[in-house]
């Protein structure tokens, strides 16, 4: 479903990684590992259509995904290391349509109408995870998704991941922490 063919990423004058190739089928999961600065976040941003590739191709279902970056955006649920939540808005207002669904998935239903500036760092992270449940996108790109989460929240996130994969979704995650994922491929960036 997702095919990455000999991509090269450059930041400044330095080659971050590449040429790099892999494929991921429906329901597949890939964990990116490697030391700090090895390009895990850069790769995730490239796959989301936010970053720039110097050479190579990212294909979705056989077609060049980067030809229409706005259209590719609808296939992607991207969780960066920033939570992208507004402290001045409530949890519901931050998520927009179908907020209740997402809040239930991460166990924040009781804080639906609380302004997010009263949330803890872990709760903000869970709110960012709730966006994944709402977007209904086949490709989840996760940058350190479980950072700051407690054990119960990690378990709930495991349920979300399993449900997404059972429905044919793809997961690519960069992490240093163990993730609640089974049957994962590992991609090591040097």
């Amino acid at each position: 479903m997702l095919e990455v063919d000999k991509i090269v990423a450059v930041r400044g004058e330095r080659v971050v990684f590449g040429p790099l190739s892999f494929r991921l089928a429906a329901g597949g999961a890939l964990v990116l590992v490697g030391p700090n600065g090895s390009g895990k976040s850069t790769l995730l941003r490239i796959l989301a259509g936010l970053g720039r590739i110097e050479a190579g191709m990212v294909a979705w279902g056989g077609a060049d995904a980067m030809a229409d970056r706005a259209g590719h955006g609808t296939r992607v649920a991207y969780l960066g290391h920033l939570d992208a939540v507004k402290p001045g808005l409530t949890a519901t207002e931050n998520l927009g349509a179908n907020a209740a669904l997402g809040l239930a998935a991460v166990g924040l239903g009781h804080l639906a109408h609380q302004p997010v500036r009263f949330f803890s760092a872990g709760q903000k992270r869970r709110l960012a995870l709730a966006r994944l449940a709402i977007l209904n996108a086949p490709l989840w790109l996760l940058d350190e998704p479980t950072l700051g989460l407690d054990a119960a929240s990690v378990a709930r996130f495991g349920v979300m991941l399993a449900g997404h994969r059972a429905a044919g979704g793809l997961v690519i995650a960069a992490t240093h922490l163990p993730l609640p994922l089974h049957d994962v491929a590992e991609l090591r960036l040097a």
Binding site: G51, A70, G73, T74, V76, L82, A84, K86, L89, G96
Partner: protein, 221 residues
């Protein structure tokens, strides 16, 4: 299109929550305009002659104030990435931001411009022409401003760079805007400068969002 209105609605909601930030530009406009009678003396004829220029320059400077937060806040908290992934072209995201800048800054400035111009002894007929010029004028400031704000995104000291980039672009807006009011005050025909302002708006409306959208994509990379 629902995504476009979602961005505008979200920005309006945020500016209501942070009311002080929204009011700051408006109060800046009123206070700077009120400084002129103190500086150049309260002679009604002098003030009336300078009123169009004062209102336009003050409106221009006030519209600059909220620009560095227009994309800056979304860039810093990661929301910009989510906006770019919302499935809409980056140009439409930029246009939505320019529209919300106009609704939260340009429109309040227009509302305040009437009383401020009256305070500076501008005649009622001339005030109507002033407002007719400010309507396309403030929209142009929002479009040029959004383009500048997108270009300096991620630059060190972008807030300092921004006025240097946007103010020269706004010079034609200022010239035609003031020319229309001056013509009306001396009872000459004022249609030409107003039409030129509208023509500028017609050109900027499609072009500025395209440039700003490309700059947003560049900032995200």
């Amino acid at each position: 299109m629902t995504g476009f209105f979602a961005i505008v609605g979200r920005d309006l909601r945020l500016s209501l929550r942070h009311g002080a930030d929204t009011l700051a530009a408006l109060l800046f406009f009123v206070i700077t305009a009120a400084l002129f009678p103190l500086a150049i003396g309260p002679a009604p004829e002098t003030l009336g002659r300078m009123a169009p220029g004062i209102v336009w320059v003050c409106a221009l400077l006030a519209a600059l104030l909220p620009l560095d937060r227009l994309f800056g806040a979304d860039f810093e908290d990661g929301s910009l990435d989510q906006l770019l992934l919302s499935g809409q072209p980056a140009a439409l995201v930029a246009l939505a931001k320019a529209v919300s800048h106009w609704l939260t800054t340009g429109l309040p400035l227009m509302v305040a411009a009437g009383p401020v111009a009256g305070m500076l002894n501008l005649s009622a007929d001339a005030i109507i022409v002033l407002l007719a010029g400010l309507l396309p004028g403030t929209a142009l400031l929002s479009l040029f401003g959004a383009t500048g704000a997108a270009l300096v995104l991620g630059a060190r000291r972008g807030g300092v760079l921004l006025p240097l980039l946007v103010l020269p672009l706004c010079a034609p807006v200022l010239i035609f805007g003031v020319a229309a009011v001056d013509a009306a005050a001396s009872e000459q025909t004022y249609a030409a400068p107003l039409l030129l302002l509208s023509a500028l708006l017609a050109a900027a409306l499609p072009l500025c969002p395209l440039a700003a959208g490309a700059a947003l994509r560049g900032a995200a990379e």
